[in-house]
C-alpha cells in the first residue's frame, strides 16, 4: 500500500504540491488527470524518491520513502516507472535493456536475468525484437520496451508518467493495450494521463489534480461522469470536446 500524507513540494520559489493526500491499495488502478503544470508528474517522482519533498510523508509498504535512513535504491525496485520520453538505453539491445537492471541491481545470474527479461518482453509483444537496438524501433515499441524493462524488476507498483503523450496518435493504442493487460493481471498502478477515456475504462479511482492539490477523488463515475467541483467540470469540458 502507498500512503501519501500532506505532501508539499516546491522547486525554489515555485510550489508544485500543496498538501497532497492519497492512498493506493494493493491491486488498485488510480489515474491522475489534470492540466499541464498541475504537479501530477512531480507526485510520481516524489513517490519513488527521485524528487525530495519539503513536508509530509510518503509511505510505501511501511517504508518512509523520504526518511533519512531509507535505502531508496532498494525501494525503487518495488516501484517500476515508465516515462513520457521512452528513455530506452540506446547502446543496448532490447534484451540487454530489459535484463540490465535485474542483473546489476538484483544481482541475478545473467541467465536468470535474461529469462525474466524474455518473459516480460514476450508479454508486451516484443518477442521478435530481442536483438534489435531501440533507436530502430517505433515509439510505441520503445514504450512497450520501457514497460517490460520496469516489469523485469518484478515491482509491486507501477508508476506511469504520461506514457502516451510523446507518441504518434496511431501508436497510442498498442501502449494502452499493454496497460490494460497489466491492470487485468492485477498490477497496482498509478497513471498520470491525458487519455480520459482510457482512465475511465481501467481505473478504480480517478484523482483530479489542480494547482498542486487533489481537487476531486472518486470512482470514474463520480469524477468524470458527475464531477462536483467547478474546476473539474471546466477541465473535462475542455478535454472532452
Amino acid at each position: 500500500m502507498i500512503k501519501i500524507q500532506g505532501v508539499y513540494k516546491s522547486f525554489d520559489e515555485l510550489e508544485v504540491l500543496k498538501g497532497v493526500d492519497l492512498d493506493v491499495k494493493k491491486g488498485e488502478v488510480i489515474s491522475v488527470i489534470g492540466g499541464s503544470g498541475s504537479g501530477k508528474s512531480t507526485l510520481l517522482y516524489c513517490i519513488n524518491g527521485i524528487e525530495k519533498i519539503q513536508q509530509g510523508n510518503i509511505i510505501v509498504d511501511e517504508i518512509d520513502v523520504h526518511a533519512k535512513g531509507t535505502n531508496r535504491d532498494n525501494l525503487r525496485q518495488r516501484l517500476g516507472m515508465v516515462f513520457q520520453q521512452f528513455n530506452s538505453f540506446p547502446h543496448l539491445t532490447v534484451l540487454e535493456n530489459a535484463s540490465l537492471a535485474p542483473r546489476i541491481v538484483k544481482k541475478l545470474k545473467k541467465k536468470e536475468a535474461i529469462e525474466i527479461a524474455k518473459e516480460e518482453l514476450n508479454n508486451v509483444g516484443l518477442s521478435d525484437k530481442f536483438d534489435e537496438y531501440p533507436t530502430r524501433m517505433s515509439g510505441g515499441q520503445q514504450q512497450r520496451l520501457a514497460i517490460a524493462r520496469a516489469l523485469a524488476m518484478k515491482p509491486e507498483y507501477m508508476l506511469f508518467d504520461e506514457v502516451t503523450s510523446a507518441l504518434d496518435p496511431e501508436l497510442v493504442g498498442e501502449v494502452l493495450d499493454t496497460l490494460r493487460m497489466l491492470s487485468d493481471a492485477g498490477m497496482t498502478m498509478i497513471c498520470v494521463t491525458h487519455e480520459i477515456a482510457f482512465a475511465r475504462e481501467v481505473s478504480d479511482k480517478i484523482a483530479f489534480f489542480h494547482q498542486g492539490i487533489i481537487e476531486e477523488l472518486g470512482t470514474p463515475e463520480q469524477v468524470i461522469s458527475n464531477p462536483q467541483k467547478e474546476t473539474t467540470q471546466k477541465f473535462l469540458s475542455k478535454v472532452l470536446h
Partner: protein, 218 residues
Amino acid sequence: MGMSLFTPLSWNDSGFILTGVLNTVYISLVAITIGTVLGLAVGFLRAESNRVTNTLLGGVLDILRSVPLIIQLILFSTYIGAMGHPLNPFAAGSIVLSLYTMAFMGEVFRGGFESVPQSMVVAGRSLGMSYWQTVLYIRLPIGMRAVFPSWLGVALSVIKDSALVSVIGYMELLRTSEQLISRTQQPLEILLGVGLFYFIISYPLSLYGKYVERKMAI
C-alpha cells in the same frame, strides 16, 4: 670509424629505423592510454563538480592546452634535472605527453558525459540503480560512444605530436631519422619514408573516424 664521413643508407640501418618506429608507437600508446584514463576522470569531475572546482580544474587544463608542447617538454625535463631527479627521456616524455593528452581528452569526455540526457539517468535510478551504477552502465557507455570520433581525433594528434619528444632526447622515429640524415646526407629519402610511416598509421584511422561519424549522424 676510419671510413668516410658520410655513408649512404643501407639495410644495416633497418634495425635502427625499426627502433625509432617502435619507440614512436610505444610512447604514443602510453600517452593515449594514460591520457584517456586521466581524461575520463577529469572530464567526469568537470561534468559533475560545482563551479569552484570546475574553474580551478579548467584553469589547469587550460594552461596545458595553451602552452606549446615543446615548451612543456623542455620545462619539465629541465625542472626535474635542476631538482636533482633527472628522468630518462622516455619517462619524462611520457609524463608530459600523457598530461597534455589528458587536457584534450578531458574536454572531449566532459562533452560526452554532458551529452547524456538527465532523463536517461533518472530512468536508470527508477530501476533501482545506484548513482555509480548509472555512471558505469548508462552515462559512460552512451557518452563515450557519442565522442568516439573526437577521441580518435585527439589520439591521432597525439601520435603526430609524439614526434616532439625528440627534443628531450627520446629516440623516436623523427630523431632516429635526423641522425641518419646527418650521417647519410640523404634527407629527402629518409624524410619521405618517415612521412609515409605516419601517413600509413594516421590515414586509415582518420577514415574510420569519419565513417563512424557519418554513421552516427544518420
